[in-house]
Amino acid sequence: MIGAVSDDTHARILAIAETVNGDVDLVRRGRHCSTTFLLEAGDTSYLVRVREGRIASIERGPFLMRPWTFALRASADAWCRFWEPVPAPGYHDLFAMKKLGVASVDGDIIPLLTHLRYLKDVIAAPRRAAA
């Protein structure tokens, strides 16, 4: 399927939980954040449940009538470029990718903006895990 994630990308997304939960400073900064958001890589959806700064679960879709607060969507290729150790211009930030037209941000963005530093670190966790 076009845009489906590779096994490697799938593994990197699931590993976000371990990377985040193992980072005591990140968990501390996110301690007021509890939300469920959708992370899409191409055609593959993941529901990420955050509870008090820890990643409670990352579940792979497809989903039927499952609620989420906001959705972060990009192609699998765009996420991989985002996770490169030194990303190219335009792929170095979620909103840079949005402006470039390779990512979208939908839903209730207020919780995303409220915890933006923490959540940016969560979605960038595969970059740090590779470093």
Binding site: P89, D93, F95, A96, K99, I110, L113, T114, K120
Partner: protein, 291 residues
């Protein structure tokens, strides 16, 4: 009795307050300066203050020939908002911004200074190039464009009591810094954003996003009256190199350079990298002035 010599490194920067009348109201404007020679007035970005120029003010290679001055706009840094601010919504306008810059230069007795502005400062440089080229010796627009296509159409989230303005501004601006920028200067830059007053960043963006659309007029700029340099970082997705290029193409004689490994805050996020691009411009301005 003479003051004792300091026993720790003392920076050459001196900060003072200047009493100006802006928009018909008294304003106490803070500025810092260092060096001697050609005046070089520096304008900070939206929602920030003159600390962004602390590395330039401390650069002996530049302050040897330039008197570097950087002020905090009212509402920013150590410049308080004007009397009555508590009942009004702050909005930076093109006219108000021009008045602030020209009034500061006049009050300080600066004769044809070089003006360097970044982001909103880079944008106002374009309008000064059009309207007041004879007031300046050279103009340097950093992260400057007549227009930047927006990636959001509502800045309300920047000023609402249930969302910490400093937290969101810092996290938002983090993305505009190049990945190569050193940790220390990256976080210094973000600290400035985290400290802005409520609604000030949003008010500055009114100029950046709405009032400061100069697409219809930058073609009138005559660079033979005042040279115009445009420097934009490759990682800036707010004002992209393409945005600046589109502006430069409308202005005969404008000198445009893309800066590698730099984002939206060159002087602040990576001073050493910015210097590689700024120093040759300042050398050229100095040579032209001497000639």
């Amino acid at each position: 009795m003479a003051d004792p010599e300091p026993r720790a490194p003392l920076e050459p920067i001196v900060g003072r307050y200047l009493r100006l009348t802006l928009g018909g109201r008294p304003c106490r404007v803070y500025f810092e300066e260092a060096g001697q020679g050609i005046p070089l007035v520096c304008l900070h970005t939206a929602g920030a203050d003159n600390r962004q120029y602390r590395h330039l003010l401390n650069d002996a290679g530049i302050t040897r020939d330039y008197r570097v001055l950087a002020f905090d706009m009212p509402w920013h840094g150590k410049s308080l908002p004007p009397l009555g601010w508590q009942d009004e919504e702050y909005r930076l306008t093109t006219a108000g911004y021009i008045e602030t810059i020209l009034t500061f230069c006049d009050a300080m007795g600066l004769e044809r200074p070089v003006l360097l502005g970044c982001s909103i400062g880079g944008k106002i440089v374009l309008e000064l190039a059009r309207l007041h080229p004879d007031r300046f010796c050279a103009l340097i627009g950093v992260e400057s464009a007549a227009y930047q296509p927006p990636w959001y159409d509502d800045t309300g989230f920047l000023h609402r009591p249930d969302l910490h303005g400093g937290e969101v501004a810092g996290a938002l601006m983090a993305g505009l810094i190049a990945p190569q920028s050193p940790s220390e200067t990256r976080w210094d830059t973000l600290w400035g954003y985290m400290q802005g007053g409520p609604g000030v960043f949003k008010g500055d963006l009114w100029f950046y996003r709405v009032d400061g659309d100069f697409r219809d007029r930058v073609g009138e700029i005559d660079t033979s009256r005042c040279p115009l340099y445009l420097l934009t970082g490759e990682y800036d997705f707010s004002c992209t190199p393409d945005d600046t290029r589109a502006t430069a193409e409308k202005i005969p004689g404008a000198r445009f350079t893309v800066m590698r490994e730099i984002g939206h805050f060159p002087m602040s996020e990576n001073p050493a990298q910015f210097r590689k691009y700024l120093a040759p411009v300042l050398d050229e301005i100095r040579a032209a002035r001497r000639g």
